[in-house]
Amino acid sequence: MTLDYELPSERELDTVDINVNVGPQHPATHGVFRMVLTIDGEEVVDVDPVIGYMHRGAEKLSENCDYRQCIGYQDRSEYLAQFNAEHCFVMAVEKLAGLEVPERAEYIRIILAELNRIASHLMFVGAFGTDIGVFGTSFMYAFRDRETIQDFFEEITGERMMYAYFRPGGLAWDVPDDFEERCQQVLQAVNGGIKDLEDLLLDNEVVLARCRGISPIKPEEAINWGLTGPMLRATGLKHDLRRAEPYSIYDRFQFDIPTGIQGDIYDRLTVRIAEMRESVRIVEQALDQLPAGPIMAEGMKRILRVPPGEVYMRAENPRGEYGVYIVSKGADKPYRLKIRSSCFSNLSALRNMAVGYYVADAIIILGSLDIVLCEVDR
């Protein structure tokens, strides 16, 4: 017996791709980000990222603020790594104004910035676990230790999020007396927390099956797309601004640059976890060498007037290369301030990375970029 008709193949059937709006209000978008997915069944045909929901005009607003007030906008744009953003900004101002920062202030800045890097990566690992479907466990683990770090920052600066503690020329005020002791406690807690997260996620069979080999990036592609930070290092390229062009006093510390193998999601996860361990090493060394002394440059006036000129300062932030470009006309306010956002560049590669994978993959690819929408939109 033979069939006297042809079965319709999948291509002949009339199918339509559908648009699915992921965001701006969606649990997986980490802020107010909109991702219009065009999907064919479960496969992603096109991704259209829509940004701008968090735009507050931080760069324009900064033109009307004096240099001390600008620091607040750095906190608010990079709200998960505030100290790192402040550090980059004050270094730019100091470079332009020719200020000499005291040793003690430099060391305290490094300690706080590295602790903030740990806090930011903890946030990433926790949120990534939620994206990939752990029922909040990774989030709770990560937040336990992030909380100890934030408590520590609160003791120093009086704020939990918007620190505004670094100032051009030094620090706003000196750290409390029990700084070193408390810092050791925080490090101990963080070390345990990193191990818990590693045990929970890294060897889990489902995590391996979901993350390995998904959206691999070659180093040359990463450079073409302008990826920086852990996204770039996950491809295997050993590029870290703290080592490539050491700013502040990073040349005094021993630390490794963790890299991945093929730039897939698993590498992005492991690189960030390894970076936390390196940050702990840096903080330990800095604590050992922490000198006494002043915390503010000498001869600072009440109002800082920066000589005319322009400067670009870049720093290795948890999410990548954070740059601040300042044009000064000699006033107490910047004539123009431009922020080079690492998240914005990383996010621009989303389409190239996500098209052709499944919907569930697109979600964790977005998660693995570790974006902060306030920094993208500024």
Binding site: G136, M140, N204, V206, R210, V359, D361, I363
Partner: protein
């Protein structure tokens, strides 16, 4: 007077009154079990995540379930304007009624059941399969793309995993030579069937987890992808019906597993026990399953839909057939019982190894579309 009426209710020969009383007991216990389980799940998950869980309502938060129920009952029953009205409104009932029906023949002790059907096992499996239609109805009727995606995912997943699930249960029925649940449990008075059928148990637990759409198989309701899937547009009482069906399914699969694999109300070794101890034993064994499912929920990420389907059709289904072939050989040639356990045990170890290696294999095949575009 009271004693007389109690005797009339519990000890009478009228089949109708008897059935009504039994149904009354089960119907009263089931919502209670749901309330207890929601509380328990929140507490257990809280402990796993270094939290306390609910603590505010009542001592240690024990009245949280009551507060939630009142809240859900008094919430507005919303329906999207563009939704397909009857499909949307009927879907929760299509999901929850089959689960209730399955409880008709589920025995909790040697005497506590509504009706002991000769084809009880078959009845439970057949009836609980109807729920899938409800998920599709909810997904389609909501007129929401997340819901549609979730509904289609639910249909694909639940239908696929129903097959290894049924086959693993069938393997036990072959060994027990019966489809009557009470007879199956009586057959385990010396040794529970898990000793003879470890492979079927392995398949039962995994396929059961998938039938419950809990982590790592919560793909239809994935919070970070389809935001609750088919349930995204539901609120109030209709949403709580879905929730109720989920917890009832949890009870159903846990009790079924403890009945057919762990010896039900039998004390291991085969001593006769009274009704109170029987209830205790079945609760302990079912709680083992329930706690395992909760543990999985907090520690496992979610699989992807293609990995899920591949695991079902390429791993679980052949293994389920293997178990049935082993059983068939042993039964036909009349080999001693222990060969059943040894063969099935070896196969179960192989199954664990296959699963482990599959997950640790470096790299994954890329989807069709990406290969077609030459991107990889």
């Amino acid at each position: 007077m009271i004693a007389d009426s109690l005797r009339f209710i519990f000890q009478n020969d009228n089949a109708w009154v008897d059935a009504l009383v039994r149904m009354g007991i089960i119907a009263a216990l089931i919502p209670l079990a749901v309330i207890v389980l929601t509380y328990l799940e929140r507490k257990v998950i809280g402990r796993f995540q270094m939290r306390l869980g609910p603590m505010r309502v009542g001592p240690y938060g024990t009245l949280q379930g009551v507060a939630d129920t009142v809240k859900l009952l008094t919430k507005e029953d919303l329906r999207p304007q563009t939704a397909d009205r009857w499909t949307f409104e009927l879907a929760p009932f299509v999901v929850v009624v089959p689960v209730f029906l399955a409880f008709v023949t589920l025995p909790f002790t040697a005497d506590l059941f509504v009706r002991n059907l000769e084809l009880g096992l078959f009845f439970i499996l057949a009836v609980s399969g109807v729920s899938i239609v409800g998920f599709l109805m909810a997904g389609w009727g909501s007129d929401n793309k997340y819901a549609l995606l979730g509904g289609v995912r639910a249909a694909a997943q639940l239908i696929s995993y129903a097959i290894p699930f049924v086959l693993s249960v069938l393997a036990v029925a072959m060994v027990g030579q019966s489809l009557n649940l009470v007879e199956l449990v009586d057959g385990q008075d010396k040794v529970p069937y898990i000793a003879w059928q470890p492979l079927a148990f392995f398949i039962f637990v995994i396929a059961g987890l998938a039938e419950l759409y809990r982590q790592p198989f919560d793909i239809p309701v994935a919070e970070s992808e389809v935001v609750g899937g088919p349930f995204v547009e539901y609120s109030g009482i209709r949403w709580s019906l879905f929730q109720m069906a989920e917890y009832l399914n949890l009870v159903l699969i846990s009790v079924l597993g403890s009945l057919i694999f762990l010896g039900g109300w039998n004390w291991p070794g085969g001593n006769e026990v009274g009704p109170a101890l029987q209830v205790f034993l079945i609760v302990v064994k079912a709680s083992g399953f329930i706690l395992f499912f909760m543990w999985m929920r907090v520690s496992m990420p979610r699989l992807r839909i293609d990995q899920l389907m591949a695991f079902c059709w390429q791993v679980l289904l052949p293994l389920a057939f293997l178990q049935i072939i082993i059983n068939g050989l042993v039964l036909v040639y009349g080999w001693p019982d222990w060969t059943l356990g040894v063969l099935s045990g070896i196969a179960a170890l192989a199954a664990v190894y296959i699963t482990y290696r599959g997950a640790h294999r470096a790299g994954v095949p890329s989807p069709r579309l990406r290969r077609a575009r030459g991107a990889v």
